[in-house]
Amino acid sequence: MNKIIKYVFYDIIRNKIVLAYTLFLLLLSFGLFNLGGSPDKGILSLLNLVLLTVPLISIVFATTHFYNSYEFMELLVAQPINRKKIFMSEYLGVACSLSGAFILGVGVPMLIFGASITGLYLLLTGVFITFIFVALAFLASVITRDKAKGIGIALLLWFYFALIYDGIVLFILYAFADYPLESATLAMTALNPVDLGRIIVLLNLDVSALMGYTGALYKSILGSLWGIGLAFGLMLVWAVVPLASSGRIFSKRDL
């Protein structure tokens, strides 16, 4: 399996998109840290941008990569290699290289500007989000053979998680404002990995005091180390479920 990952890496490095992604993140982080007075402010602005761009780039890049690797996979399938191995190598290759770009692009400026432990949470969140959205991208890619359709599904997923979902949650909150919605809000958060990531980082910044009752509830549940563990655990589920189902579809389809 390591051998196949090696060739996937090799292919990714050659097409330079990951390099451009790293540079983009570096530029973004340096700029935001320079703008804000304290590193915490920088992290807050960075969080909002990261939660918008990382899912988008991960899902679009992973989907196009999957379709472009079709020939590569076809070549390997005729060899004595397990299909699951080929699939997992593709996944790990893409997810690890994007995560590497993220850690480099955001982590290095953080070290330079001396961010706190919250910075570490942001890094972890970014890595988890990358793994989740690459898994979702692979799911979109194995569902359909048509590249355009696959990318369309991937973009829809991104729209849903990054934009539409928050709208739905806000709508529910306003429509049922007369009822106690604290635990419902918490449950709704668990249904969107992007929101989970946002809350993990926000709760570790001072701004959580501004989030009202729900914020207090979040703080009491997710503020502890146990709660953060739970939140990351949920994100892990978000990565594993689409990955496992797409792997199953891939090993049962005709090539």
């Binding site: 097409n15 020939e71 390997l76 399938v77 005729a78 290699i81 005709d254 090539l255």
Partner: protein, 234 residues
Amino acid sequence: MITIENLRKSYGKLQVLKDLNVSFGPGKVVSVIGPNGAGKTTMGKCILGMVLPDGGDIKLDGQSVLGKHAYRSQIGYMPQIGRYPENMKIRQVIEMIRDIRKDAKEVDEELIGLYNLKSMYEKRMGALSGGTKQKVSAALAFMFNPRILILDEPTAGLDPIAAEILKSKILKEKKRGKLILITSHIMSEIEEVADEVMCLMDGQLKFHETIAGIKAQANEERLGRAIAKIMEED
């Protein structure tokens, strides 16, 4: 060597293979013929596990191959249209496959030499002509000295010299006791290399005969005519 039992496969509503039963022994060149869309390629891909059958079984030396992968080290496959990662060079593709198959004891580079592929090693796969891609496919199929070769229209797109090289390679490997399955539409070619002809029609076995048997049955000297006669008969 290979036994196919009640093999069924459909793509959506289209039934490609309908309860196909056939078996092949070692040291034979079997030519798989049949009209376009008869299921020739699908049968080959089922043996390789690239296409997963809906029902039935494929056995290699008495053991089912469904859901397994290690057995593929004994099969060399040359696809009808070789598709390769476009930005990889010939050298990289060949080195990659050799790297993945490091456990193979014997490496046969005869076709690489005969096709002079080394002089084109630095060309990208995406820039190659169809014929050159076929040469790479052929070289890869024979490379690890497999016991079984599945060649899907191997000479289509090859120039006459390259086709002759391939044919003599096929005959050479046959003498070493290998089973070689070839799908082809070119009768003269079949007559040259094949021992048996297997005819698929609408996903079922029409006949599986030796070439001499076919000629005798149809009372025709030319293989093409004999086969046409048999196919028209029923």
